[in-house]
């Protein structure tokens, strides 16, 4: 450890001391019951404030959904194309898995700022980084789905006179749909959570209601944002599950 404390630590300590002062001296002398609850730091959730301010979450929620949907659509398009490519040319499998793995490992917040000199502040940078994050998940699941198609099914298709292209689109991909959608579900749910970090690069979204302004020390706003994020993740997950059920009727018939 260095002898001089770093600036960030000093700021934090000063903030803590200030918070302690406020809580200890300022509010204790007054009747805290008469204050609106958002002014009381010990209040974990302020219903009055939530009731009056729910509309301020509208725009960030829409922005958040936009970030997630655009990122996952781009991520899916790229990862799906890469998977089909690797499926055709086997030698590409391992290098593509490694490359998407490296991109997946780089934390999104670092990726935002690595892109910054090239793409600047704003939601484009956030979308690129979030899309890149989903590549590995979608690529790996698509490959897994294609690998799981049994060779006897492919032989049967070939015996019926289907070309390689027809086998891919009419036999292999439909049979791989459950794994592909499983990958999409993981990608969507993770992206909904990670998109909160877009606030750091000026990309908007629900992160603005957690980190921006004085929100970081105001649990009510954080709790509401958290709830919206979780509900959004569950809703998008349910939609994808419904799509999977609709597109793979043979599985439904078998399981019932």
């Amino acid at each position: 450890m260095s002898t001089r404390p770093s600036r960030g630590l000093m700021t934090s300590v000063a903030l803590l001391a200030a918070a302690g002062d406020v809580g200890g001296d300022f509010f204790r002398e007054r009747d805290s019951g008469s204050l609106p609850c958002q002014a009381r730091p010990d209040e974990p959730f302020c219903f009055d404030w939530a009731k009056d301010n729910l509309d301020r979450f509208g725009t960030p929620t829409v922005q958040h959904l936009e970030l997630v949907v655009i990122s996952v659509v781009i991520g899916f398009a790229v990862a799906f194309a890469l998977a089909l490519f690797a499926h055709r040319r086997g030698w590409l499998r391992a290098p593509l898995l490694a490359a998407t793995g490296v991109l997946y490992t780089i934390p999104s917040i670092a990726f935002f700022f690595l892109l910054l000199p090239v793409t600047g502040l704003g939601k484009d940078t956030a979308i690129i980084a979030l899309a890149v994050y989903t590549l590995q998940i979608i690529y790996r699941n698509t490959m897994l789905g294609l690998d799981n198609v049994s060779s006897s099914v492919k032989d049967a298709a070939r015996g019926m006179g289907l070309t390689d292209r027809q086998i891919l689109w009419r036999v292999e991909l439909p049979l791989a749909t459950p794994e592909i959608i499983a990958g999409l579900r993981i990608a969507v749910v993770s992206t909904v959570a990670i998109a909160t970090l877009a606030v750091f690069i000026g990309g908007g979204g629900l992160g603005t209601q957690i980190y921006g302004g004085g929100n970081l020390t105001f649990p009510t706003s954080i709790f509401i944002s958290l709830a919206i994020v979780v509900v959004m993740a569950l809703a998008l997950d349910a939609i994808l599950l419904a799509i999977q059920r609709l597109t793979t009727p043979w599985r439904r018939a078998r399981t019932i």
């Binding site: 600036r7 960030g8 700022f113 909160t196």
Partner: protein, 237 residues
């Protein structure tokens, strides 16, 4: 031409920031950055990552292996794994700071919460995927249930188990980047407090965080290879 080279200049500035302390315009002339401070923050990030991973492992690994061995609680374990993915790390760190407090202990616990779901789910799924015939054979040879978990199921499930550990590590080290919001000054301080460190500092932080995460992932990949029993290596080769 010069516009195309601008990004390169930024990266040059960031590398200077990592190597040599720079003058900051808000610290009253005190220099920021440089190799010493970068190492200090990187070690802090490694420390909190290692602590959180250790807590997550101690809780989730035995529980996942045991539940997988008994074949119990599948819905709960899988559901927990999915719920963990939907948890926004920014909200988690912010809530911990606002409600529990700032410092190493609250942040370690918050990060451990992120690491538990992938380790638990993968340990469970890994053990469930082990061929029941192998378990029966071990039982027939007189192994105790504990010995079966330790000597048969865990080695056979090691790829899946380590997959969970690696996911957990990536999530924890990534989230440790925003730990300065809760008073633990990691490399993310360069990114979050750009007003102090400047744009070079911010980019330097991003480079260092990316390198740290990639090194950890590389280390764990090596560890996984060491932990995989020789018998299994022969089969896949």
């Amino acid at each position: 031409m010069s516009a195309a080279l601008l990004p390169l200049a930024s990266f040059g500035g960031a590398i200077e920031f990592i190597l040599e302390p720079q003058t900051s315009n808000v610290t009253g002339g005190k220099k920021v950055g440089g190799f010493e401070q970068a190492m200090e923050l990187a070690l802090k990030q490694l420390e909190v990552t290692a602590l959180a991973l250790a807590v997550a492992l101690v809780i989730a690994l035995p529980l996942g292996l045991y539940l997988g061995h008994r074949g119990k609680g599948e819905g709960v374990v899988i559901g927990f794994g999915n719920a963990g993915r939907a948890l926004p790390e920014l909200a988690l760190i912010a809530l911990v700071a606002a409600l529990i407090g700032i410092g190493l202990v609250p942040v370690t616990l918050a990060l451990a919460v992120l690491g538990i779901p992938p380790i638990l789910t993968n340990a469970y799924v890994g053990v469930r995927q082990v061929d029941p015939a192998a378990v029966d054979a071990a039982r027939g040879m007189g192994m105790s249930e504990m010995a079966i978990i330790r000597k048969v199921e865990l080695p056979l499930a090691i790829a899946t188990v380590m997959g969970g550990v690696r996911s957990a590590t990536i999530a924890i080290v990534a989230t440790a980047t925003i730990a300065p919001l809760a008073g633990v000054v990691t490399l993310g301080d360069f990114i979050i407090n750009a007003s102090i460190y400047g744009e070079d500092g911010r980019l330097a932080g991003a480079i260092l965080v990316a390198l740290l995460a990639l090194s950890l992932e590389g280390l764990l990949a090596l560890l996984q290879r060491r932990l995989t029993s020789d018998g299994l290596k022969v089969k896949t080769a």
